[in-house]
């Protein structure tokens, strides 16, 4: 069933599809870059929303999969394998595997323990990334050749890359939409709202939550593969714990457990960051250097007063 809200989401995606033409018309190619970045983070946020929003699992370590996806592409490229099929396949596969390992331990816990254990695993991977000298250590490394798809799409062409990211974003939105409305998704949401009752009617929560955790990790790994192609640079900074916090913020800012939420959240947070830092808007250095102060205040206010997020402002009823 397609709700009003989902129509709005489709409209937003169509609008995003018109951006390359507009950017070309106004001769502002930079916005293609900015929005591509926004959409890549939106994919990561969509994947986090699956476990955080629908599954009720507050993962404070989702940036780990951005890193794993990135490293999968970077490591293969470093060894001269530029095939995107292999690179992205590895990104998804490796992220799923790592998510399976982390999930196997952490999904058994709940509440604060879950938050902390996901954080701890990401810290571990972060320090691992810093220590591997072969792949640049903390400096990271350049990934000068973008993933190649047998001539089907050329990622060096900004517009083609843009549409590919848009396509993947639409696909992941659709996938999560189908998932949460499937039997699997219903069980997952049932576990979130009342674990004891779900058990009582005969569902064991563990496999459902673990499966969601793995799917989410794999999707975020793909976002990591896109991100490293976008920046042409691989760095363990992808896995910094503050990055996990930003992803969570995108989800909650946009509206938790809504389909449009992650995209709105990623867009507003990243555009706001760009504007807050914008040299032309805030003339005084003293003001500009402290943009994180305003971001912090904004964050606190959103959490305290806009509990349903931006998607809550959209018409139509809550899903």
């Amino acid at each position: 069933m397609i709700t009003t809200r989902n129509w709005i989401l489709v409209a937003i995606l169509l609008l995003l599809g018109a951006v390359p033409a507009a950017a070309a018309y106004f001769e502002q190619p930079f916005y293609l870059d900015l929005l591509r970045r926004v959409m890549i983070f939106a994919i990561a946020a969509v994947s986090l929303n699956l476990i955080l929003g629908y599954g009720g699992m507050v993962s404070f370590g989702h940036a780990a999969y951005l890193g794993i996806g990135g490293y999968a592409v970077g490591i293969l490229a470093h060894h001269g394998i530029h095939s995107g099929w292999l690179q992205w396949g590895l990104a998804i596969g490796a992220s799923a595997l790592v998510a399976l390992a982390i999930g196997a331990i952490s999904v058994r816990t709940s509440g604060i323990y879950f938050i902390m254990i996901t954080l701890a695993f990401t810290q571990m991977l972060y320090y691992l990334g810093i220590s591997i000298e072969e792949y640049g250590g903390d400096d990271g490394m350049r990934v000068p050749v973008r993933s190649q798809f047998s001539g089907l799409v050329d990622l060096n062409d900004g517009t083609q890359f843009y549409f590919l990211v848009l396509g993947i974003l639409a696909a992941s939105l659709f996938l999560v939409h189908r998932l949460v409305n499937s039997r699997f998704g219903m069980v997952l949401q049932a576990i979130r709202s009342n674990e004891a009752r779900t058990r009582a009617i005969g569902f064991s929560p563990y496999p459902y939550r673990l499966a969601a955790f793995v799917i989410s990790g794999a999707m975020c790994g793909l976002a990591g593969a896109l991100l490293v192609n976008h920046t042409a640079y691989l760095t363990p900074e992808f896995m910094n714990w503050t990055r996990s916090g930003e992803l969570m913020f995108m989800v909650i800012l946009g509206g938790i457990a809504t389909s449009a939420g992650p995209l709105l959240g990623a867009a507003v947070l990243l555009l706001l960051e760009d504007v807050l830092q914008g040299w032309s808007l805030l003339p005084r250095e003293a003001v500009r250097d402290h943009w994180q102060l305003y971001l912090g205040i904004f964050l606190v206010l959103v959490v305290l007063f806009a509990r349903r997020g931006l998607a809550g402002l959209l018409p139509g009823k809550n899903e």
Binding site: V58, I105, I117, H290, I297, V303, L304
Partner: protein
Amino acid sequence: MNYILIAEQTLNGLQLGVMLFLLAAGLTLVFGIMNLVNLAHGALYMVGAYLTTWFYQATGSYLLAVVLGLAGTLAVGIVTELVALRTLYERDHLDQVLATFGLILIFNELIAIVWGRAALYSTIPDYLSGHVQLTDSLRYPLYRLVIIGVGLAVAVLLWFTVSRTRIGMLIRAGASNRAMVAALGVNIRLLYTIVFGVGAALAGLAGLLSGPIYAVQPGMGELILIQVFVVIVIGGIGSIRGAFAGALIVGMVDTMGRAFLKPTLATVLSPTAAETAGPALASMLIYLLMAAVLAFRPEGLFPSRGS
């Protein structure tokens, strides 16, 4: 093996442990009683270090600065609780994590606005510097011994308060069933404010103790905060005993890992492999430990609730 060195590293581990304990005690109580995940706990540690450093420079008296610094951190903590955190108690962990993440940004920037981003000069009075000859061949810095002493004293005091006094009884009761405590007519709001204030003051104490040996700069709280979370998760959230055990374990494991992991690995692996693996493993050790503990005891070593 060199026994003197092992003894010295044990003291180092103990000192790091009690420092972590001071931070973990407040955090674990706040979580246990109010069910609040407070990422901004590290910010209070930073506030403690800044205020004490500043008061010491302004007044010239270290003891006065310590008192004022503690009082100041307590005040900042209570104001934060009243203004921002109080509304978060009934929210889910997600909201709490995000709002207190926002508070970290706010605190760091406010500190940078008041004192600048450069690290502050922070020192100790002469009577606390110097060394103590513990045995013939073991000298240890006096100030580090003072930290160990203060930390252990606070641990004993907290243990006594929690297990032997009326307020401690309420705290224990609150940790196991909040609704029941409130239903029995206890002013739960006041209890919350007291617990949060004590936690803030302990964080401030850790901050003022660490000022002279660490760098007093914005963001200093986050460097140590994640380790503190590891401590309370290993120990079991809400339990002072768990925080103490967790802090000592993490302090020891981290110190010993940094000191002895590489030489130990070198006896098994090639020197170059040990050179690479040693430091990498040492940085990950406490996280591995935490994963291992949670894999076998998902509620930590000393769970405060339930069976």
